[in-house]
């Protein structure tokens, strides 16, 4: 039996109120998985716990069989995290940034150099390789951050709202890069509020509300669950979320630590 790319079991995290509340979910290897949910549902909190940025109060996280809580270094070696706000160094050039990331992941210098130039070409960053990032547009910064995430050839790529603020060309490029990575065998987990993107790209979709997984499956399975035979993902999503809100009280009140 193949090891799952990500296994989350009974995960809890509480700030002033529960942000993640007994979440259990599984992502298969080589899958493009979209994680949806209203603001404050717990998506980012969950992903931050997976990537080791937050410590859960309770629960288990396994990345390709590595326990991310007991052996975080092994899990981090094969994981990449791309936050919604690209975090890069203004006073480094993209090439210097990639060299630094390669150093952090301890990638062979020659291999990293080749990969860096390939990624820069692919993401159309090569003309700016020797310029400091301080003057880059949001799209360019996001592309630099994405290149940094891919340079160590991660098996699990986790992206939080990667398309926010990107122009059409940049968004398309990012989507193509992610599709390519999935074709090469990587697993991608992405949160997004652009439901058309999830509808077109994701093989499976998970919906979180109030820190719990309330629905999961392919678009067809979610349609069946919502009783909307040919409905769009938007209709299906709103239906699931409103159903949960009625059942569990108002969602998304918490400040967006999630």
């Amino acid at each position: 039996m193949a090891i799952n790319a990500l296994e989350i079991t009974d995960l809890y995290k509480r700030f002033d109120r529960p942000a993640v509340n007994g979440l259990t979910m599984t992502v298969r290897p080589g899958e493009f998985y979209a994680l949806l949910g209203p603001n404050g549902a717990g998506k980012t909190t969950t992903l931050k716990m997976v990537t080791g940025l937050l410590r859960p109060d309770r629960g288990e996280i396994s990345v390709f069989g590595h326990n991310a809580l007991r052996d975080p270094v092994s899990a981090k070696k094969i994981t990449a995290w791309v936050p919604d706000e690209p975090m890069i160094y203004d006073r480094l050039t993209p090439l210097e940034y990639l060299e630094f990331v390669a150093g952090l992941w301890n990638i062979d210098a020659r291999q990293a150099n080749e990969e860096a130039h390939r990624l820069m070409d692919w993401l159309k960053l090569s003309p700016h390789a020797q310029e400091r990032c301080e003057g880059f547009s949001r799209g360019m910064r996001q592309k630099v951050a994405l290149a940094g995430a891919l340079i160590h050839e991660p098996r699990l790529i986790i992206l939080d709202e990667p398309l926010t603020g990107l122009d059409a060309a940049s968004a398309r490029l990012v989507k193509e890069v992610l599709k390519e990575r999935v074709a090469m065998g990587a697993t991608v987990i992405m949160t997004t509020h652009i439901l058309e993107v999830a509808e077109r790209m994701a093989e499976r979709i998970g919906v979180i509300a109030d820190g719990r997984l309330v629905a999961e499956g392919t678009l067809g399975e979610l349609r069946m669950r919502a009783g909307k035979g040919d409905g769009t993902l938007e209709e299906v999503f709103l239906d699931i979320v409103s159903e949960e809100s009625v059942g569990a009280g108002p969602a998304g009140q918490k400040a967006d630590a999630a």
Binding site: T51, G52, L53, L54, R55, V73, S74, K76, K77, T79, A80, W81, P83, M87, I88, Y89, D90, R91, L92, T93, L95, E96, E99, F100, V101, A102, G103, L104, W105, N106, A109, R110, A112, N113, A116, H128, Q130, E131, R132, E134, G135, F136, M140, G148
Partner: protein, 514 residues
Amino acid sequence: MNQPASTAWLARHEIRLAWRDLMAMTTAGKRSRERGALILIAIAAIGLHFLAWGLVNSPDAQKQTQLDRWITITAMLVLPFSLMTSQAMESVTRAFYSRSDLDLIVSSPASIRRLFTVRVGAIAVSTTLLSLLLGAPFINMLALSEGPGWLAAYPVLLSFGAVAAVLALSVTVALFRLIGAKRTRLAAQIVAALVGASFIIGIQLAAISSMGTLSRMAFLKSEMVRNLLPAPDSVFWYPARAMTGELLPLAAVIGFSALIFMFAILAYSGGFADKVIAAAGISQSGKARPIRRRDGNFRRQSVRAALRRKEWKLLARDHWLISQTLMQVFYLVPPAFMLWKGFGSSGALPAVVVPVLVMASGQLAGGLAWLAISGEDAPQLVATAPVTPAMILRAKIEAVLGALAIVVTPLLAILAWASPREAVICLGGIAAAGVSATMIQLWFRSQAKRSNFRRRQTSSRVATFAEAFSSIFWAGAATLVALGSWFALAFVALALVVLVIARSLRAAPTGEFA
């Protein structure tokens, strides 16, 4: 209500922002502390007034001849003027380069000339206010003991603030024309650092070389200097005479400063928009900062080496840090000059050189540690890397102490040449102060943007005071060791107590690894 976008309206906007900025700095952004901060300011002001009363009415001050008084007042005016000019240069640079609300205002139909007038006026007022923080108690006490004529010092200082703003503006505009927008930012900050320290250091160097003393006033009142000074009726003395309330000099000083202020507004406001746009081009255009091309492959490096190299690169490209470090190094010139003159034979060596070097090192290490530890611009990247947090911290500490070593090694080498014993003691003091400051920054680390370095003190008052006191105590301990006194142990104990207290008050972990 003022007419929207009028000069008064824009000035009101600036005053409101400046006040909130000041309160945020004073209260570390917590509005609940505003009342407490105001009470503390009031207590400090009362204390300063008592201190000023004592100094103004001291027997030495009473015995001064008129020329001595004018020399003292003139020196006391030139000192804040050099600091005002330095601060104004810093503010003018920020007015051109800091985007904040500039994009909003420049893109609005509001008059750019009015905005420029208000911003330059605000620079003049803010630089004056800073000097008044220390000057006002003396002015008030002089007005009380010698007559209300001394209240004229307020408009005189404001006039000096206006002239400083104009001077800063002229230098910045000249730099823009000479070396372009790209290089002006760094050059202006370096010039500001040099201008700020130049007067004190220049006089001190002259005092050391001519009289072998660090006393600036003894030098300024010496026969040699007196013989070089102009006659008592010269306009040279007008600012000093205006300070005491003499009407003609007062009118001349205010009139002159108002005239050149208006002239500067007329001369420079037209080009303000161009310069703002040129400065914006630096941050907007990716092509503005080409880096030396390195065609070779990536270096083979360990994780720690990668982290250290990244920190050093960022520190070396930090304009503000460079200018501040330069200023600290510049302040070490007089002690170094004294070393050179004395070759270690003077008893003042340990008392002057050792504490200055240890203090400066502690402060520098604190600044560097804040940048490397709290000012990490990509904390999530570093936190998600497959390395242990301990290794990341170790690499950052190595980077800080390595950078400190680069700055202090040449100074220690000069000291070792003059007196090897004191060099060894100084090295011990520097190491202790540097490590202590770094540890304090580690205990009080909180995620902040690197660009907020100027306001790092606001994040934790405890850390700021702990850093300052630990540097002072280590400097005292090293000095006493150099002087062969057993009291050094008491200072070591005090420094350790500061560290223990700081550690016990450190921020509780949040559970967030970033």
